[in-house]
Subunit: 335 residues, 2 copies
């Protein structure tokens, strides 16, 4: 089934959306919010599924579904941890500054603890106090929402705790990252509020595209209307979502509604870094990666980061060219 | 007023506690949970205050208050960010490994993004899969809970957003920190679930001890029943809570119920590092600091980290020797 949270109060109002994303029906009588549904999944999932089947089968008519009325599926969450599963992306960052990545990066997932208190809606502006110097970047990623995960869960078992899947824009302020990481405590100000797709879907909705904790479909990013990236999220993902969840839960349980991200989706090309769309490659899921390639090739990055007014859209289509999660569509604006 | 969350479901059940911490009265009819109260503070605060006044003045009898029945005031929260405001603590860590701290550490707060999904109750065991190699440590800190804080708030204005104050045990796994920080993404597995005091109090409850965003009282830690630290939380705090909140909110708003921590409370002595309790000093609010002093003095740390069965208690008393927040009392156990 597919679920969305209409903008309403702090936690949104849960609706069930049909697979074509044209119609919705309120889930209010079963679960007022998505967090409530996740808190009580075993009790409510089959009822929500029935509602989805009714909507899908035409047994209930529903209302028109407008993506612009959506908050992120979880407008605020209790846990948001972002992996960096496409190690290719990390390798490029390091390569651009002439450094090798440690071998352990291929066996031990990189993950940062994100802030989960205030996610942006999928069509909300990215509001910031300045663009100059902040190095505003998007990062197109896949993310999952778990139920309650026990501490020290195995990677295999962790796969059974995935309830929903989304795509996302992990907004990053590249200009703030070097100083922040140099302090040794990880990201903070360099990771402002992120945005998730209008719709979250259960793994079964993805059919064969969801396999062994990876989503084998193209993640499409457009910057100011121009195609910027179309890597396949199932390719070059060094750690699957089971491994990422197990990493996050090694020393703590995760509560229902925990969001785990894949990190920036990035494909290699013939064993090396990918090419821009303009050169026939799969392009990139963030501006920084383009800039690294430019730096490696020419010694200098030429693609600018985002400025006020710039627009990013992120979407994923199935084999019938139907949008699975709806579109993330955001403009950068001055707060 | 003083508030606590009795263990109940995922978010606890809100009670008002008298200042002597002997009696409580349910706040259920005003706000079922503390998160609800914070989400609706302007609507409910005066009603909760009236309830507190009634309990305090004997107009309602209340029920006996048992600290052991408490969850953390917010059993799960949407935001938990921990500063490192006692730069003395950071200086010691670096000194122990022969490094200087960057000058910017005295003007730009260090802060890490913590995980807020599963806090321990104040009397809950600290459950971990192993003690060997994990380097289990406590960290005694002060923490505040905010209401909604706008992005880019000033440090002065931020002080007006503090609704509640607590003390806490920020559990740290020292054995996992070096490898984790070396990866560059900050803490994750090295910071398992933390615990907060049974009771959260409004700033006015602290009288003159709360001044300019600092809590001027002794934070008392006992390890296995022996006094381990009694530094004054108002002394050597380089950044006040207004500055810490402003740092956290530079590029994102904070939602109501955001928790901001002070970092490990640490006092200098005559401009240098403090002394252990046994040598007449104020002692330390974590084992790591003791070990650093030992390393600096003798080249080798001799105080062990916590093992299964070890106990930590953290408490703060007012000038009449009355416990303000109740006691954090935790034993380390195998999960």
């Amino acid at each position: 089934m597919k679920l969305a949270s209409l903008k309403h109060g702090r936690d949104g109002k849960l609706v069930i959306v049909n697979s074509a994303l044209t119609h919705m029906v309120s889930a209010e009588n079963i679960a007022p919010t998505l967090q409530y549904a996740l808190d009580n999944w075993t009790a409510v999932a089959s009822k929500l599924n029935t509602l989805f089947d009714d909507l899908e089968g035409g047994n209930c008519i529903g209302l028109p579904f407008e993506q612009s009325t959506c908050a992120s599926p979880l407008p605020r969450a209790f846990q948001w941890a972002d992996g960096s599963a496409y190690v290719n992306h990390v390798e490029l960052v390091r390569k651009a500054r002439g450094a090798e990545i440690p071998k352990s990066f291929w066996t031990d997932p990189l993950m940062y603890q994100g802030g989960s208190d205030s996610f942006l809606g999928p069509h909300d502006d990215i509001q910031l106090s300045q663009d100059e110097g902040f190095g505003i970047d998007f990062e197109a990623e896949v993310a999952v929402i778990t139920d309650d995960v026990p501490m020290a869960v195995s990677a295999d078992q962790a796969l059974n705790h995935i309830r929903l899947i989304m795509i996302m824009n992990d907004v990053s302020l590249r200009g703030l990252i070097p100083d922040e990481l140099a302090k040794g405590f990880g990201f903070f100000q360099s990771k402002p509020s992120s945005a998730f797709s209008p719709v979250a879907v259960t793994p079964n909705e993805l059919g064969n595209h969801w396999q062994n904790g990876k989503l084998h479909l193209t993640l499409l990013s457009h910057l100011n209307g121009n195609k910027f990236g179309e890597p396949n999220a199932g390719v070059d993902m060094t750690f699957d979502f089971g491994q990422l969840i197990a990493h996050a839960a090694r020393t703590r349980p995760l509560v229902a509604g925990s969001i785990i991200g894949s990190g920036t989706v990035s494909n290699k090309l013939d064993g090396g870094p990918g090419k821009p769309i303009s050169e026939g490659g799969a392009g990139y899921s963030c501006i920084a990666e383009t800039r690294m390639i430019e730096t490696i090739k020419t010694g200098k990055a030429s693609t600018p980061f985002m400025a006020f007014g710039d627009h990013i859209s992120i979407e994923m289509f199935d084999e019938n060219q139907r949008s699975i999660f709806g579109q993330i569509s955001q403009r950068v604006c001055k707060v």
